[in-house]
Structures are given as structure tokens and as C-alpha cells.
């Protein structure tokens, strides 16, 4: 028994040291440095308008207003909910993920068809085969802030009709909001929906 205790003495002490160095000092130091050097990013890249936080650059939102551009379908609804839902649920913790439906799962086909129907109802001028794939498939995180450029363009008719802003202006708005590939090679061309909607709102207010 005593022998075992002696054998465990160094490992035990080493473990305690590791808890302190790697588990406490390292993350605390990282927090301090990040807060000092990159305070905006370290606190979630929040966007403030008139002193009120209205979103994060990184996280998509569940836009439903017919005047705004919409995000991709989300299994977690972008962690957004109405005041009533919040009151009934009490404390809500955020979540993330997808529905994890395999391509052979009939439920996936059904969900995609439902999303297409919904999209066609909202955008009656669009033909089924013109819908880009990303706007009717759910993202992996359920928080994807981006849509493809095609997916933004395909919503122009609806937004124009409901906001009375001309299609040309909307096209230019989208073009201004395109995030290009890094060095022209890495990543994909995309549009951040929240940023696009914010510039759209500025446009509405001006006109």
C-alpha cells in the first residue's frame, strides 16, 4: 500500500502542476492578452447600432421579414426566438449543429421539398430549377452567417417588390457586400446576410 502511494506521489504532483499551468495560467493569460490586443473580436465581434447590440458579425440570424434577405435553413433556428417563446422556456442556452440527415434519409428529401415550397411561395417569380442549392440546405453549424452570391441574387425580386428599391440598387448592394476568395484562391465567394441587410436598411432610410 505504501509502495503504491510512493509510486503515485510524483504523478499526482505532476498532475496538480499541469492543472495549474495548462488549465488555469494558460487560458487566463490568453484571455488577458486577447482582451488587451483584440477587444472587439475577443468579445464576440458584436455589431452596435445607436448604442444597442443587434447581432454578431459571425453569427447568422433567422430573418423572416419579407423586406430583408434571408439566411439558410437552420436546425437550431440561429438560436433566435420571440419574446413569448423566451418567457415560456425560462433560461435558454444556445446550441449548434445540423439535423444530421443522411442523403439516403427520406426525411431529408421531405425537408428539402418543404423548404423549396416555402421559398417558392415567398419568391413567386423564381423558377424551381433556378434556386441555388445552399439556400435550401441546412448548414453544419446552424449558425452560418453567409449565403452564396447566387442565393442573394435570387431574392432580389422579392426584396425589391416589398421595399420599392430598384433591382439595380439591390444588385449593387449585393456586389458591395461580396466577400471574395482569399488571394483569389482560398475559400468561396459569399455574402454576409446580416451586413447586407444592414446596408439595405440604410438604403431604405435614405430613400
Amino acid at each position: 500500500m505504501k509502495c503504491l502511494f510512493n509510486k503515485l506521489k510524483t504523478p499526482f504532483k505532476l498532475s496538480l502542476v499541469m492543472f495549474v499551468i495548462c488549465g488555469l495560467i494558460y487560458p487566463m493569460l490568453m484571455t488577458g492578452l486577447s482582451q488587451a490586443i483584440f477587444p472587439h473580436q475577443a468579445n464576440g465581434s458584436l455589431i452596435e447600432i445607436d448604442g444597442k447590440v443587434i447581432g454578431s458579425e459571425l453569427v447568422g440570424q433567422d430573418f423572416t421579414d419579407e423586406r430583408l434577405f434571408h439566411c439558410r435553413p437552420s436546425a437550431v433556428n440561429y438560436n433566435t426566438f420571440t419574446q413569448n417563446e423566451k418567457e415560456s422556456k425560462g433560461q435558454v442556452l444556445p446550441s449548434s449543429g445540423s439535423e444530421n440527415l443522411a442523403s439516403s434519409n427520406p426525411k431529408l428529401e421531405k425537408r428539402i421539398n418543404d423548404d423549396i415550397e416555402k421559398f417558392l411561395q415567398e419568391n413567386p417569380t423564381i423558377k424551381r430549377e433556378d434556386i441555388p442549392a445552399d439556400i435550401i440546405t441546412a448548414s453544419g453549424s446552424g449558425l452560418d452567417p453567409h449565403i452564396s452570391v447566387d442565393a442573394a441574387n435570387v431574392q432580389i425580386d422579392r426584396v425589391s417588390k416589398n421595399t420599392h428599391i430598384s433591382k439595380e440598387v439591390l444588385k449593387k448592394l449585393i456586389k458591395d457586400n461580396i466577400e471574395n476568395k482569399l488571394l483569389g484562391i482560398f475559400g468561396e465567394e459569399k455574402v454576409n446576410v446580416l451586413q447586407l441587410n444592414l446596408s439595405l436598411i440604410r438604403e431604405i432610410k435614405q430613400s
Partner: protein, 580 residues
């Protein structure tokens, strides 16, 4: 396609200096950063009163197990009492027993299989003290074991576990994690101790956004080939992986350590070769200078292993990318043209190319973090990650991947020896009955755990209840879960409802056995080879530092995998593809 090639080329550029540095750290040679790190190491040695003399393989393995045991014990307690008010701004409650058991084994074994969702399952205290801490220590454990095995194979002294363990953390993992972590914060990964953000959107709805010390976890998660995310959806979430730059940084950082291990192995084998050459001939000053002049990066033995692993990797990557580019069957059925390939479960900012690359890398390097959901991959796209975890030698996790590949090298040498009628030898050591028995035992554990437990899971209701996708894909979900546990990978076909007593316990047992049994056996093989006398190279010796041997190695790996896993794979992903 172009960006995949560019990404891999970029990696080849950065890995040479880093591999060189890791080699210097591993063998105790001088580096530019010694003045600082020597002090840090000595400080830890002094307060722990560690005896830094070399160990036998049994003592080495024992120290490794004891340290892991202590970490598991304390970590389990913290998970159970995490509901205390300290560093818990979101009011997370304590974790239940079977889930705590699964989680603690998962993180200690470098698996990082998560049966909880980070946002609701862990307080910041647990994320820091248990998860981040174990990401360092489990990576260092694997790496130390690997270095010890290489030393044994080459007939050097085994070294001291505590020294190896502390050196790699102090000199490599900690400093690099901080640098990478700051890069990630710069790109937008949060790093704070505040509670989750609640805000009102422009449409007047309420949105919850997760917060916490995410960047600190994110950097070591990849650097140590751990892979357990701060948030449920792991590196797919824009909070953990906001831009293409972070995606490439995370990709590179998970590839660094496993590839560096090969550099260490190659260089040490080269050093030994040079030593024996020097002993065998008159040693003049001029030849010495001549040797110094040509700089050695990876060594011939290391190159063989690297080429073999790269061939396996590129084949897998090609299949995955091709299959994902073809698109999702269900989307095509709905009459939609997929110009960018299968986007279900993927993020727009990564697209198919970066997602396929990440998927292949995370399962090859057994990290297990995901930037897209593997359950929603096409059947063949999902076969690649499954297959690479079943092989478990395509670079593999920190240290253990190389250890597994060395076992395959021993088996390949043995098979070739039988074919040409010579005594098999590897790195100048005779491979005899004892080593072959141990190597065979080591290689059989992995398929036995995967297939045995999968068979158990599909034959009892507790197991079947977890399956969420119908038909063949359901079997793939089960196979994937156990392959991920046994390869100490940690990614998942996340649809599986795995937070139940059966799944928590069975996966915990698989992870535990799959981690420690091979390490002990591999150290045992190294310990046995260490004491053998070197035999001189002759014309009859099978050269193991050639391209031919690399190809033999690839074939041996594939044949072995086909013999063990083909029936299961045929019933899972292959059948799913054929029926679509």
C-alpha cells in the same frame, strides 16, 4: 481543386522548420529558445523533485499510466462538481456519472468524443481545467510514448517519461498554442470569461450567442490532435472557425505534430546510421565536415513512412472531394442543380473543397474536429473518414499514428522476409517470434474493438435505439462511432443519440482499451528490440528506405484493412451508395 493543392503545398513549406524544431526538442539538442525554456523546465523539475534518469520500458509505461490515472481521477471530480459558482456564469449543472465517465476517458485518451454539447454541458471551469488541460497532457502523453518507442527501435536508451512529457508541453505545445490562439482571436474567435450574449435583433427577436474562452481551447484542440469542440457543432460554428484563414490555421495546426513525429523518427534513424557508419571506418576530419555540409531534413527512413502515409492520404482526399462534388442525392431528387456540390451540413464560407480537405485531414490525423457534419456527407464521402479511422495509420494522432505505422512496417518487413526467404529485420534489428506475436496482437485489437462492439450495439435494443438514420446508413452510424472511439479520433456521425448509459459506457471502454493496450504493447516491442545487437547491412538485407518499401507498406495497410473491414463497409456506406 486548386485551393486544395495550394493548401497542401503551403503546409509542406511550413512543416520543414517546425519538424526540425520538434526534432531538436525531442532529442534534447539546442534550440534558439533554450534560455527561456531551460528555466521553465528546471523550475518544474525542481518543485516536483523529479528524477530525470532514464527508465526501462516497463517503468516508462508505468509512469505514463500513473500520470494519466491521476489526471482522470481529479478531472472526473471536477466534472461532477462543476455546478459550483466559480467560473460558471451560464449556470451549468453538474454532469451525470456515465457521461462524466465517457467524457473524462474521451479527453484523456486524446479521443475527444463528445456525448454532450459544449454550450449546455460544461461550465467554463470544466472547459479550462479539464478539457484544455487534458488536451495538453493527452497529446504530450502520446508524443512521449512515440519518442520512447523510436528510441527503443533504434537501440537507444528509452529516456524518462516525465522529462519528455514536460519538455514537449513547455517547449512546443504551450508557446505555439498561444501564438495560434492569438491569430484565431484576431480573426474573430471569442476569448473571454463572460456569460453568453443575449441580444435583440433588428427584427425584434431575441438571439443567444455563445461566449467563453473559446480561442484558448481552439488552438490546443488542433495542435494536440484532440478535436473536442467548445461548442456542439465544433469547428463548423462561425465562433470556433469564423474565416477561411482560421480554417487553414486549424487545418495546419492539427497536421503539424503527427508529421513532425515522422521528422523526428527519420532524423534519429539517420543519426544512428551515421554513427554506425562512423564506427565502421576510419573516421577522418574531412568526412565529418562533408557530412555536416549536406543538411538532412527528414532522413530516408522517415521519407519512406512519409510517402506511404501521403499516398494513403491523397487517395482518400481524392475520393472524398470527388464524391462531395457530385452533390447530394436528396437535393438532386428535389430538382435543384448543385453547382457547388453537396452543401447539406456544410458552411458557405468553406464550400466543398475546404470541407472535404478538413474531413479527410481530421480523420487521418485523428483529430476529430469537424468543419462540416459528417453524417450528411454523401455515402462515399462518408466512407473516407470511416476508412481512415479504421486504418488509423494515415499520419494518425500525436505520436500514436507513427507508432501504429511502425508496427505495420514491422509486419511488412516480415511478409517481405517470408517472400524472399530472409530473416526479417528493421532498422538493423532482427524481428523474431516475440516481436511478431506482439505486433500481430497490437494490430488485431483495433478491428476487434470496432467490429465486436458494433455487433453488440446492433444486437441489443439499447444500442439500436441510438440510430437515427434508416437502413444502411444506420449501420454506418454505429460503425463510425466505434471506429472513432477505437482510433481515438472523436468525430462522429452526430445524428447518433449517443448520450445514453449503453453508448457512454461502451464507447468509454473502447477508447480506454484502444489507447492504452497498443501503447503498452508498442513500448514492449521497442523494449525488446532495444536490447538486441545491431546486425550489419548486407546485400541480402531488405532495404526499408526506398520508394518500393513505401508502396509495399501502402499495400500491406490496404490488404489488412480489406481483410478485416470489407464486409462491414460493404453493408454500410457501399450498400447505401448502391441503393441510391
Amino acid at each position: 481543386m486548386v485551393q486544395i493543392v495550394c493548401t497542401l503545398l503551403l503546409f509542406m513549406v511550413i512543416i520543414f522548420p517546425i519538424g526540425n524544431y520538434v526534432y531538436h526538442v525531442s532529442v534534447g539538442k539546442r534550440t534558439f529558445a533554450d534560455p527561456v525554456f531551460d528555466k521553465m523546465d528546471n523550475f518544474v523539475f525542481r518543485i516536483l523533485k523529479i528524477d530525470t534518469s532514464t527508465m526501462t520500458w516497463k517503468k516508462y509505461a508505468m509512469s505514463l499510466l500513473m500520470v494519466n490515472l491521476c489526471l482522470v481521477f481529479i478531472g472526473y471530480l471536477i466534472l461532477r462538481i462543476q455546478s459550483i459558482g466559480f467560473l460558471n456564469p451560464n449556470g451549468i449543472s453538474g454532469m451525470e456519472e456515465s457521461l462524466s465517465f465517457n467524457t473524462i476517458i474521451s479527453f484523456m485518451t486524446n479521443t475527444n468524443l463528445q456525448h454532450y454539447a459544449g454550450e449546455s454541458g460544461l461550465s467554463y471551469l470544466s472547459q479550462m481545467l479539464v478539457i484544455i488541460m487534458m488536451m495538453f497532457t493527452s497529446a504530450a502523453t502520446g508524443f512521449s510514448a512515440c519518442i520512447a518507442m523510436i528510441r527503443g527501435l533504434l537501440g537507444k536508451k528509452m529516456g524518462n517519461f516525465y522529462v519528455d512529457f514536460i519538455r514537449i508541453i513547455n517547449r512546443f505545445l504551450l508557446p505555439l498554442s498561444m501564438i495560434i490562439g492569438l491569430f484565431l482571436v484576431w480573426q474573430g474567435v471569442p476569448q473571454n470569461l463572460n456569460s453568453n450574449i443575449e441580444l435583440t435583433t433588428i427584427e425584434g427577436k431575441i438571439q443567444e450567442i455563445a461566449s467563453g474562452p473559446i480561442a484558448a481551447l481552439e488552438s490546443i484542440k488542433h495542435l494536440g490532435t484532440n478535436g473536442g469542440g467548445f461548442l456542439g457543432a465544433n469547428s463548423a460554428t462561425p465562433l470556433e472557425n469564423p474565416t477561411i484563414i482560421t480554417n487553414i490555421i486549424e487545418l495546419f495546426s492539427m497536421m503539424i505534430l503527427p508529421v513532425s513525429c515522422i521528422f523526428v523518427f527519420g532524423r534519429m534513424a539517420y543519426d544512428k546510421h551515421e554513427e554506425s557508419k562512423a564506427n565502421n571506418r576510419v573516421y577522418t576530419l574531412s568526412t565529418k565536415n562533408c557530412n555536416r555540409a549536406n543538411k538532412v531534413w527528414i532522413g530516408k527512413e522517415g521519407r519512406t513512412i512519409f510517402v506511404a502515409m501521403s499516398i494513403l492520404f491523397v487517395i482518400g482526399l481524392g475520393v472524398c472531394f470527388w464524391s462531395e462534388s457530385l452533390g447530394n442525392h436528396a437535393v438532386a431528387q428535389a430538382g435543384i442543380t448543385e453547382t457547388f456540390g453537396n452543401m447539406e451540413g456544410k458552411e458557405v464560407r468553406f464550400g466543398v473543397a475546404q470541407s472535404a480537405l478538413f474531413t479527410t485531414a481530421t480523420t487521418s490525423f485523428t483529430t476529430g474536429s469537424v468543419n462540416n457534419m459528417h453524417d450528411t456527407l454523401t455515402p462515399l464521402g462518408g466512407l473516407v473518414p470511416l476508412m481512415h479511422m479504421m486504418l488509423n495509420v494515415v499520419f494518425g494522432g500525436a505520436g500514436v499514428g507513427l507508432m501504429n505505422m511502425l508496427i505495420y512496417a514491422i509486419i511488412a518487413v516480415f511478409i517481405c522476409g517470408l517472400m524472399i526467404g530472409r530473416t526479417p529485420e528493421y532498422l538493423g534489428k532482427k524481428i523474431e517470434g516475440k516481436e511478431m506475436k506482439l505486433a500481430a496482437l497490437c494490430i488485431i485489437i483495433h478491428p476487434l474493438l470496432i467490429l465486436g462492439f458494433s455487433a453488440l450495439a446492433v444486437s441489443i435494443p439499447e444500442g439500436v435505439n441510438g440510430i437515427t438514420n434508416p437502413s444502411f446508413h444506420g449501420l454506418s452510424q454505429v460503425l463510425y462511432e466505434f471506429a472513432s472511439s477505437a482510433a481515438n479520433n472523436g468525430s462522429g456521425f452526430e445524428g447518433l443519440l449517443d448520450n445514453s448509459l449503453f453508448w457512454n459506457m461502451s464507447c468509454g471502454i473502447v477508447m480506454f482499451l484502444a489507447r492504452y493496450l497498443p501503447i503498452i504493447i508498442q513500448l514492449g516491442i521497442a523494449g525488446s528490440l532495444m536490447n538486441k545487437i545491431d546486425i550489419n547491412e548486407s546485400t541480402g538485407t531488405l532495404k526499408t528506405n526506398t520508394l518500393t518499401f513505401a508502396i509495399i507498406l501502402v499495400i500491406v495497410v490496404y490488404i489488412f484493412a480489406a481483410l478485416t473491414f470489407l464486409p462491414a463497409i460493404a453493408l454500410g456506406p457501399v450498400a447505401e451508395m448502391l441503393t441510391l
